[in-house]
Amino acid sequence: MFANFDFDVIARSLRYLFFDGMTFTLILTALATAGGIVFGTMLALMRLSGFPLLAVPATGYVNLMRSVPLVLMIFWFYFLVPYIGQWLTGAERPIQVGYFTSSLVTFTLFEAAYFCEIMRAGIQSISRGQLAAAQALGMSYPQTMGYIVLPQAFRNMLPVLLTQTIILFQDTSLVYVLSITDFLGAASKVAQRDGRLVEMYLFAAVVYFVMSFAASQGVRALSHRTAIIR
C-alpha cells in the first residue's frame, strides 16, 4: 500500500519542518510552561490562602479555563486582544500583538489553570508539621512558602508537571487554526502545496509520538532520581 507514497517529500521539507516549525513549537511549549507554572502557582496560593477575596476569583478563573475548549480560547484571544488593547490604551485602531505573542499569552493563561491544580495538590501534600516547624523558626509566610513548602511541592509534583508539559507540547498544534507555522502547520502547508497529505500527516503523527513517548520515558527515569529521601 506504500507503493505510490512519495516519502521524498519529507526529506525535501525536513529543514522547513524542523527549523521553522518545530522550533516554534518548542519555544512556545517552553515559554508557556514556564509562564503557566509561575501563574499557576500564584493561583494555587490564592486558592489555598483562606481569604475569600483571593480564593474565589482564583477558583472561578480555574473553573472557567477548564470549561472552555482551548481552540476557542486561541481564537478569542487572537481576535479580541487587539480590541482590548485599543480599549485600554485609547488608540485609534486595534493594536496588533502578533500571532506569537497572542498564542503565548493564550497558552500561558490556559495552562496556568491546570498547573494551578497540580501545584495545589503538591502544596497540600506537604504536612502541617513542616509549616509549623518553619513558623516556629520565625519564618514569615513568604519565607515558609519560598524555602520550605514550594520547593518540596515542586519536587513532589515534578513528574506530573512534566507530563502536563508533554500534553501542552501536543496542544500547541492547535495554533494551526491561526495559520501559524508550528510543526503541524509546516507539515500541513507542505502537504497542501505538494498534494502529499497522507505522507505529511503520517510523518507529523510519528514525530509527535516519538517525541512525546521519549519525553514521558525521560520523566519516568527522572522521577526516580529526584524523589526526596524520607
Binding site: 513542616q130 509549623a132 516547624a133 513558623q135 516556629a136 523558626l137 514569615s140 524555602y147
Partner: protein, 246 residues
C-alpha cells in the same frame, strides 16, 4: 524562682463547642525546667503550642519575656524566632541537608552572615554529637539523630526558652536515651524548658516542677519530688500508677 520567663494566665481554648483548654495557668522562671504530662488528649501539646502562637487560644493571656503572645499587635514571627521548638516527628526539612536545616533560619530570619551561621551550626552539631553528618539529608539519618539535629536547629537561633512536644514519642526505645542525654545537658546549662513527655525518669532527673493535665485542665502543678512522692489528685495517682507499672 527569680524572674518569670513564660507566664500562662487563665488560658482557655475551644474547637467549636469542644473545650480543649480550661483556664490553664502556670509560670515558668528563667532557667527552670517544667515537665508537662497527662493522659493523651488532655491538651498538653495544645498548651505548649499556644506558648509560641502556633495554636491560637480563645481566652486568657500568655506572655513570653514580657511580650504578649495573643496580642494582635505582636510580631509573632519575631517572637517565635526567640523560642525554640522541638516536635514529635522532628519536622526537619527533608529537601535540605542537615547543615542547610541549621543555617536557613539563621540567615533568613536573624540576618546572620553565611559564615557565622555555618560556624554556629557546626558548633551545635558538635554539641549533639553529629559533626560528621552535616552534609547528609535528614532521610539518611536515624530517628534519634534526626531529633538531635532538630534540637540543634532550634538552638541555632539562640532561643531564650525551648519547648519540647513529646520529643521521644516517635523514637525506637534504643534511641530515646541519646535524645534525652542532649536534653539533660541543656537543662544543666540553665536553659528554660517546657517539656511535654511521658519520660518520668527524665522528669525526676531534671524537672523542677511537674504540671499534670487532664481533660484540658491543669490538675496539679507541684515540685517534682512532691508530685512523684504524694500526688494529691486522683487522676494523677491513676496516671502515675499506669505508667510507672513496669
Amino acid at each position: 524562682m527569680t524572674d518569670i520567663q513564660i507566664d500562662i494566665n487563665e488560658v482557655s481554648k475551644w474547637y467549636g463547642p469542644f473545650q480543649v483548654l480550661n483556664r490553664c495557668s502556670t509560670k515558668v522562671g528563667k532557667g527552670e525546667v517544667v515537665v508537662v504530662c497527662g493522659p493523651s488528649g488532655s491538651g498538653k501539646s495544645t498548651l505548649i503550642k499556644c506558648v509560641n502562637g502556633l495554636e491560637p487560644f480563645t481566652q486568657g493571656a500568655i506572655t513570653v519575656d514580657g511580650i504578649s503572645v495573643g496580642d494582635p499587635k505582636t510580631n509573632l514571627p519575631k517572637l517565635r524566632a526567640r523560642i525554640g521548638m522541638v516536635f514529635q516527628h522532628f519536622e526537619l526539612f527533608p529537601h535540605l541537608t542537615v547543615m542547610r536545616n541549621l543555617v536557613l533560619a539563621q540567615i533568613k530570619v536573624l540576618g546572620r552572615s553565611s559564615g557565622e551561621a555555618h560556624e554556629n551550626g557546626m558548633r551545635l552539631l558538635d554539641r549533639v554529637g553529629l559533626r560528621d553528618q552535616a552534609e547528609k539529608f535528614p532521610g539518611e539519618l536515624s530517628g534519634g539523630q534526626q531529633q538531635r539535629v532538630a534540637i540543634a536547629r532550634a538552638l541555632a537561633m539562640d532561643p531564650i526558652a525551648m519547648l519540647f512536644d513529646e520529643p521521644t514519642s516517635a523514637l525506637d526505645p534504643e534511641m530515646i536515651k541519646e535524645v534525652l542525654d542532649v536534653m539533660v545537658s541543656l537543662a544543666r546549662d540553665g536553659m528554660t524548658m517546657i517539656v511535654v513527655t511521658h519520660e518520668m525518669g527524665f522528669a525526676r532527673q531534671v524537672a523542677r516542677r511537674v504540671v499534670f493535665m487532664d481533660k484540658g485542665e491543669i490538675v496539679e502543678d507541684a515540685p517534682t519530688e512532691e508530685f512523684f512522692g504524694s500526688p494529691r489528685s486522683e487522676s494523677a495517682q491513676m496516671f502515675l500508677s499506669k505508667i510507672l507499672q513496669y
